[in-house]
Structure formats: structure tokens, C-alpha cells
Symmetry: C2
Subunit: 210 residues, 2 copies
Amino acid sequence: MTESPAALTVRARTAYHHGDLRAQMIAAVRDLVETHGPEGFSVAEAARRAGVSSAAPYKHFKDRAEILRGVVGEAMDRLRTAMETGAATYPAGSVEAVAAVGLAYISFARTEPGVFRLSFGLTEGHENDPDLQAKGERTFDVVVRCAAACLGLPPEDRHVQTCAYMLWCFAHGHSFLTIDNKRSTADSRIDDWTYLLTAARAILGQPVRG
Amino acid sequence: MTESPAALTVRARTAYHHGDLRAQMIAAVRDLVETHGPEGFSVAEAARRAGVSSAAPYKHFKDRAEILRGVVGEAMDRLRTAMETGAATYPAGSVEAVAAVGLAYISFARTEPGVFRLSFGLTEGHENDPDLQAKGERTFDVVVRCAAACLGLPPEDRHVQTCAYMLWCFAHGHSFLTIDNKRSTADSRIDDWTYLLTAARAILGQPVRG
DNA sequence: GGGGTAAAGTTAGCAACTCTTACTTCCCGG
DNA sequence: CCGGGAAGTAAGAGTTGCTAACTTTACCCC
């Protein structure tokens, strides 16, 4: 907050002895969750990896659940930007742009299944966190805007909202079923892009009702 | 108690001291998972509820994960029968029958979110269990048969498989987003039935491609 | 009935984990 | 240079997963 060595002070405020343990904990947890599954994570092990005592993390996080929330919050940000850049690679208003958003979603789930599961499947206490809920809404807005552009309707339109939600359902379900290995071998032969494009066309091609 | 007829002997084989601890453990775990979330379950607490020592469950289950697998297996059976009876309430081949299957799926998720999450979201070691995988396939077959009847094609048809999978994705995603409280208030105003019927029409109404 | 056997339960205990408390170390502003 | 506070440590309470060694119980066969 003091302005003398502006940028450095801000960094030093959180760095200190160790060098921003908060960020390093989140990184360590991400790694653990990815390699050992969302359950196979412990504060103790993450602290060990960060090279600090097992009590140190509690100076930065209230409890275990808050660490998870930190990881999820950071993941949500990355997911949203991935979706936005995905949409930007196709003409605004095209079905392809919608499918690209879904592809970004599924790619995230594929490359970081642990964190993805953590973000959605688990309810270790972050199910009603207002901060994360807000981030979730912002992420959903990306889908809404793309659907609106594609349908030529304002984002507030009820039909747009419904379609966007249906698209989200589809991508979400597909992501989970894929990383949970629940798909039969027959399903796995078709690639994500075909699936997404087909779904987007099916859902957005519907007549406006109600 | 000592009757020595065959039927009683079979029961006594599993009953014994306590009265089928295996089943009581599964019931206790179901209850715990439902009230405290999928994470907030411990073998110790479940044993406490069943009125036995914390080591007793290990006479029936290899480890914690096997207990979970037991719960999931039992849940899968109930889910499948619910889906089958759902389909049976509408004329075979109707879109409504397909939607009813989805409704059974979502209703299960709504009434038993903990067990549902346990069955799908978590990967505590049951992700590759062949027994559960087989049960999963049988459950999916219900969707496939309904979709086939609706499309007037054999269940082995590629298009049927794809449509069934898409329907599953939708129901699965909708279930998770609902129980995870990820839906915006706008979405929650539409009921499950309308959603499902719309989705089924959109997906099954697609032209046969490939 | 009386013993052998195996299932089902017990207590005791280890290692690991979460989180708290009390103490130490280090940086920074006045 | 010194006091305050942030960031760390060590030690410990309490819970958990699971194992080992033991006891109790019901059944089978003679």
C-alpha cells in the first residue's frame, strides 16, 4: 500500500520469508490433486512440498476447505479465459464459436480432471461460497453471450438463457462422463468437436418457444 | 434362533451376532453421505452408528473404498430400476418415455445428491471397478433402448448410440449443475420435465448423419 | 452332547492427518 | 533502534484408516 518501491512492496507484502506461500500452496495442491485425485490431497503433504511446516499454511488459509476454494477460484479464472479465447477463434455469432466454447470447457476437464472435479463435483464447503458463485456466473455469461450472438437475440432473452443452460448441461455432462471413464468404447470413437457441433446445432436450431 | 432349516441357515450365515453388518454399514454410510456430504463420511462414524467397534467393518470390507463401492453398486441398481419404471409409464417409442428416463435420473440426483455424487463425481478407487462398470453399461442400455424405439432403429445403430449418449450427457450435466447449486435463478424457474422434453426433441429430431 | 473350525466381533496400537497454542524470527516504519 | 506484526516453527490434542492378536459365537460332524 505504501508507494515508495511500489511494485516490489506489493510483492514483498505477500512474499516475505518464503516467497508467497499462498501461491505455492495452491500450486502444490493443484499438482497433488492432479496426480493423486481430489481425495488424495492433504494439507500436510502440500506443505511438505512447499518446504514449510505443516502449520504454516494456516497462517494464510482458515482451514483445509479454504485452500481448496483458493484452488477452485484460480481454476475458474483460467477456465473462463480459455473459453473466451476459444470463442474468439471463430466468427462472432457462428455455431462454431459456441462449439469452441464447449471445446475449451471439455479440454480443461481433460487436461486437469482433478481440479475440474474439485471445482464442480466436490462439496467440501465451497458449494455456497459467494465469491465462487460469482465467478461461476461470469463463466456462464461467456456461453450466454455466444448463444445470444448466434441466435441474434439479446442475452437477457429467456430463450437464450435456456439454450445456454442446455449447452452447458451437455458440455458439463460430457466432461464428467469422459473423465470418469463412463463412456462405452463405441462412444469414444467420435471426437469432442463433432459432438459439440452436433449438440450446438440441435439445441440452437430449436424454434423459439415460450 | 437355532432352527437349523435351510432358509434360516442362509440368513444366519450373514446375520450372526449383529444382524448383517454389511447391509447396516451400507445403510449407515448412505445416511452419512447424505447428511454430511460425500467427504464427511468416516468408517469410524458409520461403525459407531451401527453399534460396533471401528474395526468390525474390516471383517466385511477390504477397506474404505470397498464400502463406498458397495454403496454405489446398490445405488446403481436402484437408479436403473427407477429409470425402467419411468420409461414404462409412457408408450414405448414416445419421446415422453425418453424424457421420463431422464426425469428418473434427475430425480435420483435430487433426492440422493450425496450418493449420486459418490456414484459419479468421486474417484475414490471405484473408477475402474469392472463390477460397477458393468452396472453402468446396463443402466445406459435403458437409455439406448428407449432412444432406439423412439427413432425406429435397432439399438446397435450408430446414430442411436450417439443420440443416447447425448441424452445422457444432458441429463447428467443437468443433474450435477442442479445439485451443485450452479444454476442461476433464471434457470431454476423451468422445471425438469420441460427441459428434458425439449432436449429429447432437439437431440432425437436430428437427421441421421454418418 | 462335545470338539474343531471359521466367521464375526473385540481391544490396543501405529502412522497420518487437521488444526490449535505458544514460542521464535524477521522485516518495516517511526 | 526498537516495537509491532506478519510469517514461520515445534509440540500436542483429537480423529481417522487400518492391522494384529485375541475372544466369542454358531455351525458341522462324529
